[in-house]
């Protein structure tokens, strides 16, 4: 590691810690309906949305109505992306005359973008028309992120309110997230990326004759607008196949810094939004600190892995799958952040990372996307772990567990356990089944422990709604498109629905004032306990599988073995 490496990490950390609380406070005002910076310039857009869609903005919903609205809306979103793909050949804005996308691949891609996963079995530049990318995928980039925020807001209201049955209005939460947060930030980032050289045009690909006389097709398209929201909304689906390693998607160190910052910005800021909304800023900071510690630990481990030499293939510095303008430190900073947040975009190929860095990436996802996590999703995910921690602490001292004045009882804990365990079960069962099916194994590009890692990573990425890949695995087969599609659906809605049930249940309860015996959730003891619960749940579930994948690969690499 050089001084410059440390400076780059510092610059990133400082930018994040300065900007996140500011954005967090702003979002708290937006989501609680208070006047804010943008209510004048953009208020008309919010009001016109309610009028055009017939949304009674003052009407609040029970958790069931909230869930029904969410499911209908996501279902329609899926349908639109699916239809756009299977008909794109006949639709306008397809200058490369790309054919209709096959059904199974369309299913996978539609599920993937609707669930904020952005797993990509396809290569953007050779598969999707400009119209599909814009009107299909870019839209889902916005609304899937807003859906995450909506669920987080519903859960927060459940925690805050007493003896009521309503937890907010889904459409209002969606509209405010998009109009005041996602859209303005995307415009700023989109223009910044454009200035750096990310393409944004409706012109067709340009064919050039190279200096040595070959023909080369330079792909173009409306990329900057999509790349901005793919980073901000923890979506991660690249406009081009190489994602943010592609020079037309991430051309300079500046664009790289901005894209990396956008990646963690909203999820980090939401911890402060939460602290503000529950009137306990310290609790917000504690959650941020827990996430930051886990992120930093992963970063340190990954850097150690990447700066170790590789005797197996005879490399002192492993630059396979990395870009020179970014170098090792930016590639690792990105790989840790994109898997901690459920973003899944990449600026270096994860499959070619050292076993330790690749293993950290996988473990980040396996923890349930709660180290910052997805936009909104990271917050409701970590709140499940907070409830579990409070419950365990209650068991230790023999008191009914309480969280912010609410009694945590059987129903909440049942739902918490479901929300935590179902995605984990999908990962282990799915990967286990795939390991013995010839149809699944024939997709492997790497042998030995790295082959197992490819499969394990794929199921983690799908169930965790991350979307990055050990892309040696050829996932564009009927088996993986269908099975991973189902894994993405379960990983998304088997967490969202329990959260909404908890929101409804908590909202109906009375608030008990804190007493001497109340377990405090805004101090370092709680932070340590929460980190303990997160790592123990993750480690107990996944260490055996990781042992056979990245961990053993690390030792075999040191011993110089190849497969």
């Amino acid at each position: 590691m050089s001084t410059n490496d440390i400076l780059q990490i510092l610059a990133y950390v400082i930018a994040l810690i300065v900007l996140a609380p500011i954005l967090g406070q702003f979002m708290a005002r937006v989501f609680t309906g208070k006047p804010h910076l943008l209510s004048r310039p953009l208020g008309w857009l919010e009001r016109i949305t309610y009028r055009l869609c017939g949304i009674p903005a003052n009407h609040e919903m029970s958790w069931r109505q909230y869930a029904a609205s969410l499911l209908w809306f996501n279902g329609l979103g899926f349908l639109i992306v699916f239809i756009l793909q299977i008909t794109q050949h006949w639709l306008p804005m397809n200058p490369q005359h790309l054919p209709n996308v096959p059904w199974v691949l369309s299913f996978n891609t539609a599920v993937s973008f609707m669930t904020n996963t952005n797993w990509q079995s396809y290569a953007g530049e050779t598969t999707l028309s400009y119209l599909t990318q814009m009107a299909g995928l870019t839209v889902q980039n916005f609304v899937s992120a807003a859906t995450g925020i909506a669920v987080f807001l519903a859960l927060t209201r459940g925690i805050l309110r007493k003896t009521t049955s309503v937890i907010g209005n889904f459409w209002v939460d969606m509209t405010r997230s998009i109009v005041y947060v996602l859209l303005p930030l995307s415009v700023i980032l989109g223009v910044a990326l454009l200035s750096q050289g990310v393409v944004q045009t409706l012109s067709p690909a340009v064919t050039v004759t190279t200096v040595e006389g070959q023909s080369q097709d330079i792909p173009l398209g409306p990329a900057a607008s999509q790349v901005a929201i793919k980073q901000l909304g923890t979506n991660g689906g690249g406009y081009f196949n190489a994602n943010s390693a592609h020079p037309l998607e991430n051309p300079t160190p500046v664009s790289n810094f901005l894209e990396m910052l956008a990646l963690l910005l909203i999820p980090a800021a939401l911890t402060f939004t939460y602290g503000k909304m529950v009137s306990n800023r310290k609790h917000g900071w504690i959650i941020f600190a827990v996430m930051f510690s886990l992120w930093f630990g992963g970063l340190a481990l990954s850097l150690y892995g990447e700066y170790s030499s590789n005797p197996s293939v005879g490399l002192n510095t492993n630059l396979e799958g990395k870009e020179i303008r970014f170098g090792t430190v930016n590639s690792v900073l990105w790989s840790v952040s994109t898997t901690a947040a459920s973003n899944g975009s990449v600026n270096a190929m994860h499959s070619s990372l050292s076993p330790i860095a690749g293993g950290v990436a996988m473990f980040n996802i396996m923890l349930g996307e709660i180290i910052f996590g997805g936009v909104g999703a990271g917050m409701y995910g970590i709140l499940l772990h907070v409830l579990l921690t409070v419950f365990l602490a209650g068991l230790m001292v023999g008191r009914t567990p309480e969280y912010l004045g609410k009694k945590i009882e059987a129903r909440e804990i049942q739902m918490t356990i479901l929300g935590i365990l179902i995605p984990n079960a999908v990962i282990l069962l799915g990967a286990g089944v795939a390991c013995v099916l010839p149809i699944a194994l024939s997709s492997l590009a790497n042998q030995g422990p790295h082959g197992l890692s490819e499969i394990l990573y794929a199921f983690s990425s799908a169930a965790g709604n991350n979307g990055s890949a050990f892309a040696g695995l050829n996932a564009n087969t009927d088996f993986y498109n269908i099975v991973l599609g189902i894994a993405m659906l379960i990983g998304r809605f088997a967490v969202i629905l329990p959260c909404l049930v908890i929101a409804g249940s908590l909202a109906s309860k009375k608030v008990s004032p804190p007493s001497a015996g109340t377990f405090a959730t805004d101090n370092s003891t709680f932070a340590v306990l929460l980190i303990g619960v997160i790592t123990i749940v993750g480690a107990l579930t996944f260490l055996p599988a990781l042992g056979l994948g990245p961990i053993i690969e690390h030792f075999l690499m040191i011993a110089g073995r190849i497969f």
Partner: protein, 188 residues
């Protein structure tokens, strides 16, 4: 049923707002202020498109500097890396082939970026070390004399981009720009 209708209206409106209006707004900004960047940062000389400065071209002639190895053979349709893992036998073989391809006469070790395929397969840059490493090959293929060799070395320095504000990213040399400059050097 009412919920479904609201959902339908809402997704339609969001499609217009975030899927049509927003991308077109950014496209408009590109048209007005960032024409070159928005259209792929093309290098145009006398009406002829020579390539994109952001997309590596394939160079095999010893008279040119070569870019980093590419898993897609410099064909951007589609981009991508090798995705070979750290204990892959094929990766080891590839590295051996690349090592012998780049190996200099004096036997100095080949810089790592020339041994490893890039993530996109289209990395337009090499490290300054990798450029200087290829200088001998280029100079002898072009039969340059000592003064011309020095000129070439300063050309590499001239095309070396430093980290932004001294911090962000790595020092790098754009291979296409360097090779184009090399050709015009020969013409003079």
């Amino acid at each position: 049923m009412k919920t479904l209708l609201t959902a339908l209206k809402f997704i339609m409106l969001m499609t217009v707002l975030t899927g049509i209006a927003y991308p077109l707004l950014i496209t408009g900004v590109g048209r007005l202020f960032f024409v070159r960047q928005a259209e792929g940062s093309l290098i145009i000389d006398g009406g002829k498109i020579l390539g994109s400065e952001l997309i590596a071209q394939k160079f095999t002639d010893p008279r040119y500097f070569w870019p980093r190895p590419s898993a897609v053979d410099y064909n951007p349709q589609p981009s991508g890396g090798s995705n070979l893992g750290p204990t892959s036998a094929s990766l080891k073989d590839s590295i051996m082939v690349r090592r012998s391809r780049f190996a200099a006469a004096d036997g100095a070790p080949v810089p790592a970026d020339l041994l490893c395929a890039s993530g996109s397969g289209l990395d337009p840059h090499i490290s300054p070390e990798a450029a200087r490493y290829q200088l001998d090959r280029v100079a002898s293929a072009r039969q340059l004399d000592k003064a011309q060799r020095t000129a070439l070395l300063s050309l590499i320095d001239k095309y070396t981009e430093a980290p932004t504000i001294g911090i962000l990213g790595q020092s790098r040399v754009n291979v296409l720009w360097l090779n184009l400059a090399l050709d015009s050097l020969g013409r003079r």
